[in-house]
Amino acid sequence: MHAARAKVIWSVIAWTIVLAVVFPLIWMIVTSVKPQSELFSIPPTLAPETITFEHYVRLLTETPFLQYFRNSMILAVTTTLVVVTLGTLGAYSLVRFKYRGRETLATLVLFTYLMPSVVLIIPLYLMMVKLGLANTLTSLVIAYTTFALPYALWLLRSFMSGIPEDLESAALVDGAGRMGAFFDVILPQALPGVVSTALFTFILCWNEYLFALVLVNSDSVRPLTAGTMNMLITAFNIDWSLLMAASVMMSLPLIVIFTFLQGTLTKGFGAGAVKG
């Protein structure tokens, strides 16, 4: 049948490309379980001849990796909570309320895209020093909030504007106040969007590098991104096995989120992606 044959052809082409795109990640995992001896063989072997977890063990026991991991976790979770709370309330305000300057504010959200992080970093660095917060996790939470919040608002706005206005009107007539309507009706309806946004914010914070690099300079506070790069440049020789193991572990939350919530993430991303 013509359609079935087309499906086969398209599938082959599509999956070849998908696998090519994903190959670097596969290679990352493969490298991380190869013993050192095999690593430096020329030509390099595609499939590992022996599988070892020694690099992971070394990573967790001989480096500050776990500390970095813990810092990243605290950082990402805290920032996500702050951003989602502020963002949900703010998005609700932008979508359902009328007040002077509302449109300007919405446009201002867009203007935050103007700010290259290198530009933000200088005043933020100065501010943290003045507040006595230099080199603390708090400074990172504040810093991350400043760039994560615009994204969150952008996503949440498009989710909330999709909720029918009648629902809120019905709640108001039924006896709720504005905030009552928000908690009873809007929030439950927006929940998938809120979850999407939370995941997106988490990933954004988890992956952030520059702010961590500049605002923090001790291992006790360093998150994963800066920490791993630190391991790279302070080492005498570049230990690729270790770095690949670290990369795999750094990507774990992403893989977990993806496996369980890929639907939610892409839906949210697609919906909010191009709307202004």
Partner: protein, 298 residues
């Protein structure tokens, strides 16, 4: 109950204002403060570690225009932005079209293609640097076997390889954004349009140019503008891959600002570069605004 209470609309407006207040606070920190700071700082010469500075007025701007480094960075930024954006666009649209077809494990394919975008830049850079490794990297190995090269290539330490490598990795990392946006749009094109065209005698290529492309045009314009802004700003990827090297060959404006501020310890000059960057981005953003407004009206 014969008194006239304050207007309902006014009360609601106050609640709305309260809800957005924390966000406004944050925005003042993000937009107003850095903007004013950057402009203010650019008029000084500041030594970063001690934050001691002295007024130099517009001298910094003069130095900027005369500086070879500045124009070099501008050129590099342009090459990088145009290069990676074009690749992102072409690959993004192509893959989106592909994933819009009926294929096995379609949703899995669509999820997997997103991985590069959501991956940490640090991880992406580490993996690619390993791939690009001249001795042990698998890329050289595969190309050697395929007979495309005679000797291992130095991907990151040589020009023009370094810029090309950076552009390639940038495209790999960011093209899924284009895929998702375009795919979402493709899926909203009613099947009936294609059916009507087929009845009217249009072949597959014609259907693509007459139906698909016009529908995609709006999305693509927005995507191009957004990605242009983000690619222009990019710091992490280039910094981590090449550090700006070899010898400033891949130093973009973002990297220049960083270098001035934290390596040369000239915070004032860095701010000057930052202001220049922001002006360019302002242009892009205004374009974007005008385009989305036009879309909303049209």
């Amino acid at each position: 109950m014969h008194s006239v209470p304050p207007s309902l609309e006014k009360r609601y407006a106050m609640i709305g204002a309260v809800l957005i207040a924390p966000t406004v606070l944050v925005f003042c920190a993000v937009i107003l403060y850095p903007l004013i700071s950057a402009i203010y700082l650019s008029l000084f010469s500041i030594y970063t570690p001690t934050l001691a500075g002295e007024w130099v007025g517009v001298d910094n701007y003069g130095a900027l225009l005369a500086s070879g480094d500045f124009w070099n960075a501008v050129l590099n930024t342009l090459i990088w932005t145009v290069g990676t954006l074009t690749l992102q666009l072409v690959c993004g649209v192509a893959v989106a079209l592909l994933l819009n077809q009926s294929i096995v494990f379609q949703s899995l394919a669509r999820s997997l293609i997103l991985f590069p975008y959501f991956l940490s830049t640090v991880v992406a850079v580490l993996v690619w640097r390993w791939l690009f490794n001249d001795l042990y990297g698998i890329l050289n190995h595969v190309l050697l076997i395929a007979g495309l090269i005679d000797a291992p290539v130095n991907w990151l330490g040589q020009m023009p390889n370094a810029m090309i490598s950076v552009i390639l990795v940038g495209a790999w990392k960011y093209f899924p954004f284009v895929v998702i946006a375009v795919l979402a749009r493709l899926q909203s094109i009613p099947e009936q349009l294609y059916e009507a065209a087929t009845i009217d005698g249009a072949g597959p290529f014609q259907r693509f140019t007459d139906i698909t492309l016009p529908q995609l045009r709006d999305v693509l314009v927005v995507v191009v503008l957004l990605r242009a802004i983000w690619d222009f700003k990019e710091f992490d990827l280039i910094y981590l891959m090449t550090g700006g090297g070899p010898v400033k060959a891949t130093q973009t404006l973002s990297l220049l600002v960083y270098e001035e501020a934290f390596r040369l310890n000239r915070m004032g000059m860095a701010s000057t570069y930052a202001v220049a960057m922001m002006l360019v981005l302002l242009g892009f953003t205004l374009l974007y605004l005008r385009q989305t407004n036009r879309l909303e009206e049209g």
